[in-house]
Amino acid sequence: MNILELKGVSFTYPSGTEALKEVSFAVEEGSAVALLGANGAGKSTLLDLLLGIHANGAITLCGRPLASYGRKEIGRLIALVPQSEQFNFSFTLLDYTLFGRSPYLSQMQSPTALDAQIAWEALSEVGLAGFEERSITSLSGGEHQLLLLARAIAQQSRILLLDEPTSALDPANRKRTLSLLQHLHKRGKTLFFSTHDVNFAAELATHVVMLKGGRLLAAGAKEEVVNTAMLTTLYGTEMRVRTIDGQTLMY
């Protein structure tokens, strides 16, 4: 089943910049989709559109136009892991993870013990159990990224949107994030992530969407779409694709 469908999506900013033009593709439930493209290709705009930040009638979520959903309804279906988050207040790790429960809270309601349990499980899943009462301002870069992921896991959505999940990570944390996301994917979560880390995409993705200059260059299963010629066209520089010990490497 297609959980997300885009049919001829175009978007122009009020300043007149045309960010996306006639982009169409579908995302199957349970797939892991890498969104690839050079800087300024329209990846961030596309993620914003999928979140519903800019209204667009050409996007369908679970068979219904995205624009027909309420904000909280979207929050229960799609969670975002932003590239980073600036923390100006000393929330605890548990506080911040509980923010992911917001789409389930009604007006006036604070999180319940059950929400706390779900948040705690999300923190355990990313390896931050035991640090619930620590301040988020004391985290290292790697822990910061894991916390963003925990908050999105606590949201219990069907789709996880990730904006450059590995851009600020050292190799160990990158590996940890990769295995966490692989685990989530195995459990049936649909992943949709933008990245410049093509090898990360090769390791995690089942499908690839390529954007170039706001237009769709290619979309499909990784094996069908990713090849030397396509990547070279995508980034405008010579790229190679090799398979070593069953693993695809791009450079």
């Binding site: 914003d48 979140l51 519903g52 930040i53 904000r71 909280k72 979207i74 929050g75 229960r76 799609i78 969670a79 975002l80 932003p82 988050e85 600036q86 100006n88 207040f89 000393s90 929330f91 605890t92 548990l94 506080d95 509980l98 923010f99 992911g100 917001s102 789409p103 809270l105 007006q107 006036m108 309601q109 604070s110 999180p111 013990a113 059950l114 706390a116 349990q117 948040a119 705690w120 619930e132 301040s135 301002t137 949201q155 949107l161 904006d163």
Partner: protein, 339 residues
């Protein structure tokens, strides 16, 4: 111990602490009723209060509305300060920093000079100019081409405040010196000596409504302090919610200061104190900040009206205490935020 149990215990502990703070504040409010300069300076409980008509009138018509106004003003200024800090994701912001206070001061002074200084006209004018100053600061900050968002906001707030200060100075120049100028000067220093039931009731319904809205939306305040995309992704509409809460906080503040005059520092420091006690998450620290604000204003006013034979304007007391507490907070090791 599971996390759920720990969480429930934490909530219960915080609820008990909040109730204790409210009880302490109400008890102090009751005691402060008997602080004053009649029939002798200091603390005096008139056991035959009912038989002494003057004492009875002082208690019911002078001290009681004044105490109620201090509680109301303290909680509203704190709620607004707290909301501003979360909405701008900056722990060093309060309505005064974004030109609201100076804007309202100008609005109030203008009405006094124009000779239409009824309670209602001063309130309306102060509110309109307060909102205008806030909008001007916000729009200017968006147009500035220097520094990050928070720095731009603070800078535009300084500029807008300065413009309204100069405009206010002009109004004072042309003010009639024996009455209007005095009125403006006393208003600028902030004071509750004019408090009456009439004044209190004129702002009570809307201020209570503003407080109720901020309290109802306190979970959203947490989310609005996060990045725009994150807050959007957890199911709120940040632009709309931020605008509504800003207007509510500004209207509440300007209504309060249209009656009390300028009372600085309360909205800036009480959220910090509340966060130290209840953590940064708003569920408890927002109401706690309001209780601390009520208590702070009540103590400041009680000191202001009993310490010296002449009354010290409350704005001066809060500024003195506020600045000292502010210095201590900024010198502490674990402070919040990055400028």
């Amino acid at each position: 111990m599971s996390s759920a149990e720990g969480y429930t215990r934490k909530i219960k502990r915080r609820r008990r602490a909040l109730v204790a703070m409210i009880a302490t504040t109400l008890l102090f409010a009751l005691l402060s009723l008997f602080f004053g300069r009649y029939p002798k300076p200091g603390f005096f409980i008139p056991l035959d209060g009912r038989s002494n008509a003057l004492m009875h009138s002082i208690l019911v018509n002078v001290r009681l509305p004044r105490i109620a106004l201090a509680l109301l003003a303290g909680s509203m200024l704190s709620a607004s300060g707290y909301a501003f800090q979360m909405l701008f994701s900056n722990p060093l912001v309060e309505p005064g920093f974004l030109g609201v206070s100076q804007g309202s001061a100008f609005g109030a002074a203008l009405m006094i000079v124009l000779g239409v200084s009824s309670t209602v006209t001063v309130q309306i004018s102060a509110t309109i100019f307060g909102l205008f100053a806030l909008t001007a600061s916000y729009v200017l900050a968006r147009h500035f081409r220097f520094g990050g968002w928070l720095l731009r906001l603070v800078l535009s707030g300084i500029a807008v405040s300065a413009i309204f200060s100069s405009a206010l100075a002009v109004v004072k120049l042309v003010a009639e010196p024996t009455k209007d100028l005095q009125d403006i000067t006393f208003w600028m220093m902030g004071g509750l000596w004019n408090a009456s039931w009439g004044q209190l009731l004129s702002i009570l319904p809307i201020v209570l409504l503003c407080e109720a809205i901020i309290i109802t939306e306190r979970w959203k305040l947490n989310l609005l302090s996060l990045g725009e995309k994150t807050s959007f992704s957890v199911g709120i509409n940040p632009k709309r919610d931020r605008t509504i809460l800003l207007i509510v906080a500004t209207v509440g503040t300007t209504l309060v200061i249209s009656v009390t005059g300028l009372i600085g520092w309360v909205g800036l420091i009480t959220p910090h104190l509340a966060r130290k006690l209840f953590g940064s998450e708003s569920s408890f620290s927002l109401p706690a900040s309001m209780v601390v604000g009520s208590f702070f204003l009540l103590v400041s006013d009680t000191i202001g009206r009993t310490l010296l034979p002449t009354e010290i304007p409350i704005g001066l007391v809060t500024s003195l205490f506020g600045a000292v507490i502010f210095i201590i907070i900024l010198s502490l090791k674990h402070q919040e935020g990055k400028a």
